[in-house]
Symmetry: C2
Subunit: 385 residues, 2 copies
């Protein structure tokens, strides 16, 4: 059962600094993960998807945030079904959590049935070879999901292969838990491709009913799919990003709360003279005497070089422009316009979070929030608070 | 003493596949590190820098390749002096290697002298506060380096602070091992800024000689600096990227051998029909019936979304274009033009290495090879062979 969680109020920016500054000053980059806001987002999903199984996606180490810690939070919320990216992720999760169902989105080329049985893992069948070689001999038939490609052309069986006459007997006997597919344009509710994909999956469900005599459950929605409305919920939804507060829609304001903030700190400040340059390639020239702050983050921490000379950060809620190229573990920002009293060595520097959403930060990086989390998550000290 | 290493011949592409295919098929992305070529590059550097200390930079986990393993190779080559990025990196290295000198490029805001003494670490003084607070009381004076900023405006003392009268007594008494600086435009030997920086550092060396009565050793060159010629070697050079075969110059062909290749493998293939689309956002439309291969790498493995619909990979030495958006742990390439006999599920897929240099791959990603190594190194299975 999903539990009701009493929401605590959020920490203010000042409180965060007070509580976490010593940690922030000890690492190049620190990712603060707001558990309360994650729970808010979970409750939001629970409210929308009342009669549907919610199975969080925790692949790629929960998008870089740490699969064990994030799964623990989900389990405490009463969730029991989880999707991982591959078998080694699945085993890592199983070793920590015994009483959950683990579904593997992609087992690689061939299934290791010994591992699947040993760790009680449910694989997704993604192609015709895997279906053809699926064993039927065992007494307790191995449970599986079958992925039908309805428009991604990436993983999944196409309808022709799925419905080929050779597979009929096999499909009849298999223990298929869900027939799943994946939406290509779920973040755009105006896109008619969503309906087309949904109908294709339903057609396969009907085909399977003819063979097996029963309705096999279906699933098609990731986070964004949930915002397409009830008819996309089907029997199970697979949100990942929504828990983390990433905007599920490209057309609408974000109804979710932000969960992750990335911080670094000011390592040193300097007066820099007119006509001197900053960083590699001398790519930024100072047109007046300026005050600069060197901050303790660079591209080896996932802070992309694309932001060189064009990006900015926030120090005590005020924007500071990046000047010069971003280095491997250092960057420089212009703090000429800051009051002396309002900035000092050791101050936390917000890369994204309170003053700039992760979605806006991703846009500046020419990408989507998913990639940002994966990039910075793996590189940063992570604190769940 | 630096050892003479007998070069073994390189493995061919086919041999690599034969030897490593099972490892490649077990991981999303696999980084093959060619030790022979790294040794070739080291020997190349030894030949150029005959009478200069060569101190490899192993910061950011040896640019993501694994600091312990890479340092082991350097030590076996007879190298004894190493630069790390911060104190925690230094301690990690010290715990494994007792008889080397470890210099810390950036100790953060303040020095932890207990740690520095306990682990016999030599810090770099980067700003006036660190110099002012440097202790002189102890009998065995702590060794240090002083970083003079000669044009990066990033770390290091400016000449005015360094030469201020208050510091004279302190500088006189300190145990300064090296006076160092960092070049901004070393990869461009035509840039006059290099000479300006060199002269500024030498001026500070002369100033220090006036105070201390002896010549303090100096260092200014990273990998690229070495290619600027003998006068930039000074007493110590700090190469990192050159060992790894990254081109030290933007104007000249690369004299070094490639060290790292990134591979993934073909997860499944499919026939995709005319007018269907590939991947998220349905951003790629197939104008004819095509054959596609889904490969087991995505942006969570450091394979940037920027390459969506524009990048390419190599399968059995033939180029295959990326179609559609790169996903978190999957990408799709077009293999319509491949002979049936020349491609199959499980085949290794080269992201960069033999058919495309890491420098060219970096250019496609709108960045430099340093960032690519850091991105993919941390995400990939690494094999030194």
């Amino acid at each position: 059962m999903r539990k009701n969680i009493l929401m605590k109020r959020d920490y203010t920016s000042k409180e965060i600094k007070k509580l976490f500054i010593s940690e922030i000053q000890r690492h190049n980059s620190t990712l603060l993960i707001n558990k309360n806001n994650l729970i808010f987002n979970a409750n939001y999903l629970f409210k929308i998807c009342k009669n549907t199984v919610i199975a969080p996606v925790i692949k790629s180490d929960a998008y870089g945030l740490g699969a064990i810690e994030i799964t623990k939070i989900y389990i405490n919320l009463g969730l029991k079904n989880f999707f991982v990216g591959n078998t080694s992720e699945a085993i890592k999760i199983r070793k920590k959590f015994k009483n959950i169902n683990i579904f593997i989105l992609n087992c690689g080329m061939i299934f290791d049935f010994n591992l699947l049985k040993k760790y009680k893992l449910t694989p997704v069948i993604n192609n015709i070879n895997q279906l053809t070689n699926w064993p039927l001999s065992s007494k307790n038939k191995i449970p599986c999901m079958i992925h039908i490609d309805t428009g991604m052309n990436r993983l999944g069986l196409n309808s022709k292969d799925f419905m080929s006459s050779e597979n009929k007997t096999k499909l009849k006997k298999m223990n298929i838990k869900y027939l799943i597919s994946h939406l290509a344009c779920a973040d755009d509710e105006k896109n008619s491709f969503n309906t087309i994909q949904l109908l294709k999956l339903k057609k396969m469900q009907i085909y399977l009913k003819h063979i097996k005599g029963i309705n096999i459950k279906t699933s098609i929605s990731n986070s964004s799919g949930i915002w397409l409305g009830k008819k996309y919920f089907l029997d199970l939804v697979r949100p990942g990003a929504a828990f983390l507060g990433i905007n599920p829609s490209i057309n609408n304001p974000n109804p979710l709360k932000n969960v992750i903030c990335l911080y670094t700190y000011i390592l040193q400040t300097r007066i820099a003279y007119k006509n001197t340059t900053v960083g590699y390639g001398a790519s930024y020239k100072l047109h007046k005497k300026s005050k600069l702050a060197t901050i303790s983050i660079g591209y080896s921490n996932g802070f992309s070089r694309l932001l060189s000379n064009v990006g900015s950060v926030f120090i005590n809620d005020k924007e500071a422009k990046i000047v010069g190229k971003i280095s491997m573990d250092l960057s420089v920002v212009d703090i000429t316009d800051f009051k002396e009293s309002n900035i000092k060595v050791g101050d936390p520097v917000e890369i994204f979070g309170e003053n700039r959403s992760i979605d806006d930060f991703a846009t500046l990086n020419n990408t989507i929030a998913y990639e940002i989390i994966c990039q910075v998550g793996k590189y940063s000290k992570k604190i769940i608070y």
